[in-house]
């Protein structure tokens, strides 16, 4: 079996986000870029399965849609243990464009298991996995918290309200991965880091695809209101404020 892990190149989750150009672009000055945390968990699970089932998994490939500056992030995935990587040479504009590019590669290369993080930590679109499933006409399992292969059979679990659903499916399929798929992302080993540059990183040109959405501008979240203290004796006022102002009851 061949596993493909789709990885996004996102700002470190502790980044202080600033926008420029009339709030239409992220200020990337000083930003440290990382593998999207959900994608990193997906990659870790793929590698764990490969390690546990020597021979059952032929390869783990990572793919990213991005320009050359995403290559350090891709090489981090190679350092962690992916066997090879593909970069589609295109600045990702929206989920549809990304999914179109990924689908083209997957159609040609016959991957059996395709893993996507449930969302990207920057755009939080949560849509590439579902779009890919539609474009490729293969099943997808959302919010996957468990994935394993037992005697050639794929077993998945997905999160549902208050519990889990156990799912079996045929390959090829897409698992949209949620936290819980593995305990922690893998730390690359020293040899993995030093060997990352010698692993194949194939750069392919994109197919034509138009964005279906347009980013108008970003808005900062409203700053938190100041804390208001209500006298301990005045329960009525507290209830009224919670009801009318905070609208939580």
């Amino acid at each position: 079996m061949k596993i493909l892990v789709c990885i996004s190149h996102v700002p470190d989750t502790t980044t202080k986000i600033k926008f420029i150009n009339n709030n239409t672009a992220l200020d990337t000055a000083g930003v440290q870029w990382i593998i999207n945390p959900w994608d990193e968990l997906a990659l870790t699970r793929a590698l764990d399965i490969k390690d546990a089932q020597a021979g059952a998994i032929e390869s783990v490939t990572v793919i990213n849609v991005g320009l050359v500056e995403t290559e350090p992030t891709i090489r981090k995935a190679l350092a962690i243990g992916a066997d090879k990587a593909i970069r589609v040479n295109l600045e990702p504009k929206d989920s549809f464009v990304i999914a179109t590019q990924l689908a083209e590669v997957i159609k040609k290369d016959n991957f059996d298991i395709i893993l996507c993080g449930i969302e990207a930590a920057d755009g939080n679109g949560s849509s590439v996995g579902g779009m890919l499933s539609e474009m490729l006409d293969i099943p997808s399992v959302s919010a996957t918290t468990f994935l394993d292969i037992e005697n050639g059979q794929v077993k998945l679990q997905r999160e549902i309200d208050g519990g889990h659903e156990v799912i079996a499916t045929q390959t090829p399929f897409i698992a949209i991965v949620q936290k819980g798929i593995c305990k922690e992302p893998r730390i690359p080993s020293m040899r993995g880091i030093m060997g990352a540059r010698s692993k194949p990183l194939q750069v392919i040109e994109p197919v034509t695809a138009d964005s279906l959405t347009e980013l108008v501008n970003y808005e900062y979240p409203k700053s938190k209101a100041a804390c208001r203290k209500v006298d301990a004796e005045n329960v009525k006022e507290l209830v009224q404020l919670l009801h009318e102002e905070a609208k939580v009851i």
């Binding site: 350090p72 090489r75 350092a79 080993s189 020293m190 880091i193 030093m194 990352a196």
Partner: protein, 380 residues
Amino acid sequence: MNFEYTEEQIMIQQAAKDFAERELLPGIIERDEKGEFAKEQMKKLAELGFLGMMADPKYGGGGMDTISYVLAMEEISKHDSAAAVVMSVCNSLVNWGLETYGTEEQKEKFLKPLARGEKIGAFLLSEPEAGSDATSQRTTAEDKGDHYLLNGTKNWITNANSASTYIVIAQTHPDKKHKGINALIVDKNTPGITLGPHENKMGMRSSDTHSVMFNDVKVPKENRIGDDGFGFSFAMKTLDGGRIGIASQALGIASGAFERALKYSKERKAFGTEISNHQAVAFKLADMVVKIENARNLCLKAAWLKDQHLPYGFASAMAKQYAADIAMEVTTEAVQIHGGYGYVKEYHVERLMREAKLTQIYEGTSEVQKIVISRTILKD
């Protein structure tokens, strides 16, 4: 001149940071309290290749440069210097010594398992009456034809219990003084080796430190490193590199204390505002960060010289003396910024202060570094 790290160096720094935060920080207070060696964590650190990170890949090492080593040592030392000293002894002293001066047979037999992280090494130089003054070795390695017979006691030996491979510095020809000293590779399981109790130390309490006694320990002749009498020179050259490791450890202790003090100063309020808004605290933070930056630059300069195969003994002595001394100053100020909280264990800075003290003492005291530095500048 280029101050940028490579992609690999950044990855190593991040890997060390992740490992330290995830694996070493939880439980450090208890390990420190009990003086407990982080056995499981060391196994994981070894599996990731940190213990053999600079050794040549042909011997199973990571093949990384000294800059990467400085970055990794700093990150690990921010949280657990006792773990960092295992890394330092293995990389800078034992592996480097074997790789640089060992025969191919010695490298095959002893370096490979060390570089792969399957075994831990220890460097046995200090004695009850020979610490920084390494010329006065009392431990003897009597030449018995096909083997040496080791007798004597080594003190303050890091990794003494956890190591499998020792490099022992001992006197073979007392009449030749330091030119009669040899460096021998000794299997810890050789009959005649006994360990003293675990040292109950002020800091780095979970580091595995013991005295090691040799009583008629037979060491095959082929385990001698270099020519007869090379041992003192071997020890001095090895310690030049060791200083980069300890300097980086001191740097990590200082930056770990600084990061905690910075965070605390922005949270803790006094007189109606965060204490970082008080100039008395803000200036302390400014002084700390300048010292840390200086120490980091000295460490990186020494590492760069070593990587360029240029002389680095002077640079590593400066890095070690300065980083150790500022680690003591910075950790003391970090405790001061934390006030009463700094004096209790949960906030880590008191531990870092205790750890900083050792960096001014081992692998050549700050005073010995000043001897090296002053002799270098005065020799012409």
